[in-house]
């Protein structure tokens, strides 16, 4: 186990990653899993933009177009943005609080494998008879009547990956509450840790309604239930509520960690402590709280009535206040700082105006009467891409550059990073700025084509050109990653030179036990304090001693595999709505569940006490850690 420096064969490395419970390796898994789905979702986006390049295009037919935008949205939200953020959180948060691992390393691995198997299951729909086609929101008025099994891939796939997300959320909450190093009080936690904490709270309370809603849709389509079947007394509005009670907090689950990432990057490269730390924390908590009070602004045109619309409109606009606090704090952090424009900082600089634009259009849509005009037009598409790309994607790419040395011990090329940024930034605004106007001119979203002479030609052409520029940017990023791996030029613990928080005080990448001695935290920006006193290392809080580590395990993989198998059984069961039941379906369902629950049973029967790294071994490894 401890022979980390020994050369390993491919099989051994594969087995290591299949069984790992180390948060740093799980971060790698999330990163490459997320990047894979990000590329897939990006290709789907390009297909959409080719179809809309000019009027009456016949690149995709209507049915395929529906599948394409549904899978683009679903993939990007559930299988790209969230896993990529989990990658960053896993890589950084335990280090930021001075912990040796997360609270539940086994569950951490389980969360990843559930996500991956859910994602694979969802995408198998492409080759097994058609993808989901009712939009990423899967409104049941469409979803119940969708032909084929596309929607069933959606419900079962998201159910599996959703369990994984919930587990990861609980894991981060417990980690942050219980595993902080001595002296790391809540009000000394770095902002990325704070935003992870709040986002995890949102996951904990927002995912169960999605689980329930998806169960209803699954029961309706596969087992003959009638939750949404109007003829049998069902009510399709229930889905809308459950979906958006999840769906709106989901927006903040994505964007709060993005805020956290920029709150690390901006002080680092302004070489100045974060302005208004406590108001940043307060704003994060407030956004998390208000995030649960605004779901019906997605349903203004559903017809809930003026009173409901008014309440939700006011609550929605209130969220602009804490968000504004954050924006001003970032600006004031830079004010008077000694700014170094590195690639991560460049993304931060690009993020602020882009995200503000997305926020402003958000407030516009929050006004219920105006939303009646904007609803279901490209204005909405422009808005949420401004917040999700301008906020979340910029943050993820910034974090990739910023934390790459901490994750892999090498630096992504800064030069290529600048070029990538230029393509991405210009391409992004080219794609989506014009969509505001397309929407105001009346172009509806989710429609496969438009006619010549409607005035949409130029706007769509510009938008598609922008999309291809973004495609080039992502390709450059991938090339950059490959080149960096090939060069494999190692860097030391603090490659940016201005690291403020604890992760920069230990080797890049950190040893598998993270901290040889648990550090003592003496204030905000722990490592900065030590550096200002002329020290090179953190002050230890304990003498060198044995370190307790968890054992690797293949069981998380098998538990997830079982659910993956069971999902096929559920989908082809004889009661399903498509009426293509198979005789093998019920046995497969039972076998799959037996694998899952059986491996859970084995897990609880077999004691797993972990192992110890002895003091002598740590001393032998010397000062390098």
């Amino acid at each position: 186990m401890s022979s980390i420096t020994a050369k390993k064969g491919f099989g051994a490395i594969l087995w290591e990653y299949l069984t790992t419970v180390d948060h740093k390796k799980i971060a790698h898994l999330y990163l490459f899993g997320g990047l894979f789905f990000f590329a897939l979702g990006g290709l789907e986006a390009l297909m959409i933009r080719i179809q809309l390049l000019s009027p009456d295009m016949e690149f995709l037919n209507e049915a395929t177009f529906n599948e394409m935008f549904t899978m683009h949205g679903t993939t990007m939200i559930f299988l790209a943005a969230m896993p990529l953020l989990f990658a960053i959180m896993n890589a950084v948060v335990p280090l930021q609080i001075g912990a040796r691992d997360v609270a539940f390393p086994f569950l951490n691995a389980l969360g990843f494998w559930l996500f991956l198997f859910g994602g694979i299951f969802l995408n198998l729909s492409w080759i097994l008879g058609g993808a989901p086609d009712a939009g990423w929101t899967a409104y049941v008025t469409l979803a119940l009547d969708s032909p084929g099994h596309g929607i069933d891939f959606y419900t079962l796939g998201l159910q599996i990956s959703g369990f994984g997300t919930l587990i990861s959320g609980i894991n981060f909450l417990v980690t942050i509450i219980n595993m902080r190093a001595p002296g790391m009080t809540f009000m000394r936690m770095p902002l990325l840790t704070w935003t992870t904490f709040i986002a995890s709270t949102l996951i904990l309370f927002a995912f169960p309604p999605l689980t329930v809603g998806i169960f209803f849709l699954m029961f309706d389509r596969l087992f003959g239930a009638n939750f949404f079947n109007i003829a049998m007394g069902g009510n399709s509005i229930i889905w809308e509520h459950l979906f958006w009670i999840f769906g709106h907090p989901e927006v903040y689950i994505l964007v709060l960690p993005a805020f956290g990432i920029f709150s690390e990057i901006i002080p680092t490269f302004s070489r100045k402590r974060l302005f208004g730390y406590s108001s940043m924390v307060f704003a994060t908590v407030l956004i998390g709280f208000l995030g649960f009070m605004v779901w019906a602004h997605h349903m203004f045109t559903t017809g809930l009535g003026n009173v409901a619309n008014a309440i939700f409109a006011v609550a929605t606009m209130a969220i602009a206040v804490p968000t504004g606090i954050k924006i001003f704090n970032w600006l004031l952090t830079m004010w008077g700082g000694s700014i170094k424009v590195t690639v991560p900082m460049l993304y931060a600089l690009g993020f602020i105006p882009s995200f503000v634009m997305g926020g402003v259009t958000g407030v516009m849509q929050g006004m219920a009467p105006l939303d009646y005009q904007l609803h279901d037009t490209y204005f909405i598409v422009a808005h949420f891409h401004y917040v999700i790309i301008g906020g979340v994607v910029f943050a993820i790419i910034a974090a990739l550059h910023f934390y790459w040395p901490k994750m892999f011990g090498t630096m992504l090329s800064e030069k290529m990073g600048y070029v990538t940024f230029v393509f991405l930034f210009i391409g992004f605004h080219l794609t989506f700025f014009i969509q505001h106007f397309l929407g105001l001119w009346g172009m509806p979203r989710r429609v496969a084509s438009y006619l010549p002479g409607q005035g949409f030609e130029l706007g769509n052409m510009i938008s598609s050109i922008g999309a291809f520029m973004m495609g080039i940017a992502v390709t450059l990023l991938v090339i950059n990653i490959i080149i960096t791996f090939v060069k494999n030029k190692k860097v030391d613990n603090d490659p940016w030179g201005d690291g403020r928080t604890m992760e920069w005080a230990i080797a890049s990448p950190p040893p598998y036990y993270n901290f040889k001695q648990t550090p003592l935290v003496r204030g905000l920006d722990t490592y900065w304090i030590e550096k200002m006193e002329g020290k090179k290392e953190l002050t230890p809080a304990e003498p060198l001693g044995d370190i307790h580590m968890p054992n690797n395990s293949i069981i998380p993989f098998i538990i997830s595999l079982g659910l993956f198998i069971a999902a096929f059984g559920a989908m082809y069961n004889p009661a399903n709505i498509v009426k293509d039941g198979q005789p093998w379906a019920i046995p497969v369902l039972i076998i799959g569940l037996a694998i899952t629950f059986g491996s859970m049973l084995i897990r609880s029967l077999k004691d797993d006490l972990g192992y110890h790294i002895h003091k002598e071994e740590l001393e032998e490894e010397g000062g390098k850690a």
Binding site: N226, G233, D607
Partner: protein, 206 residues
């Protein structure tokens, strides 16, 4: 190692479930999990109330049998009490008594589950009130059935714990396991109190 340390009733700590970091994490993580479960059941309750009596030829006040449900309630509430006794003895390092009270808990829980199976069977065969009959029936079976599935899971959990640890007594490794299992059991009980009130009592009067 420390986890295998042998204790006497005198050296056994007051809160054995939170003596180790693993124990503390389990304790907190499980409470958080129950928070998520609360939202899950809240969603099911909300849906049930929205769909109550909807699309069904038979209404709630014609369907439910108060005597049977009262018996079920008594069984489950009592089982919650016996699990408290079990944890009381766990905290006093009395392994045999803890096992005995958990065993009684399992029996009562199994009794509850048997009655619930009978109840569902009764509704399906006497009233033709099946899962697919109407929106009301789907919502009813999903809410009460999800609770029933939790009871089943809880029973399997406690039985597994009892069998696995039958020969090795109490230590700081398994104390948090007993404790979280009993938390889960209480949670199931609390949910049932709401089901009894919202589904059955409110169903019979309105």
């Amino acid at each position: 190692m420390k986890l295998d340390e042998k204790f006497t009733p005198q050296t056994w700590p007051v809160s054995p479930e939170t003596q180790t970091l693993e124990g503390k994490n389990k304790f907190l993580g499980f409470w958080l999990f129950l928070g998520g479960e609360t939202v899950l059941f809240a969603s099911l309750f909300a849906t049930y109330l929205a769909l109550k009596d909807s699309g069904s030829s038979i209404k709630a006040n014609e369907l439910f049998d108060p005597v049977l449900v009262f018996a079920m309630t008594m069984l489950l509430l009592t089982s919650s009490l016996t699990s408290v006794y079990a944890i009381y003895h766990m905290k006093n390092y009395n392994f045999k008594k803890m096992q005995a009270w958990f065993f009684i808990t399992v029996l009562l829980g199994a009794g509850f589950l048997a009655l619930e199976v009978y109840e569902f069977y009764h509704y399906v065969h006497e009233y033709h009130f099946g899962f697919k009959s109407s929106a009301f029936s789907s919502a009813y079976y999903t809410l009460v059935g999800t609770h029933g599935a939790h009871v089943l899971f809880g029973l399997c959990w406690i039985i597994t714990l009892l069998l696995r640890n039958s020969k090795r007594g109490l230590n700081l490794y398994n104390a948090p396991k007993y404790y979280t299992a009993s938390l889960y059991w209480h949670f199931i009980d609390v949910v049932w109190v709401f089901i009894f009130t919202v589904v059955y009592l409110m169903g019979m009067v309105g």
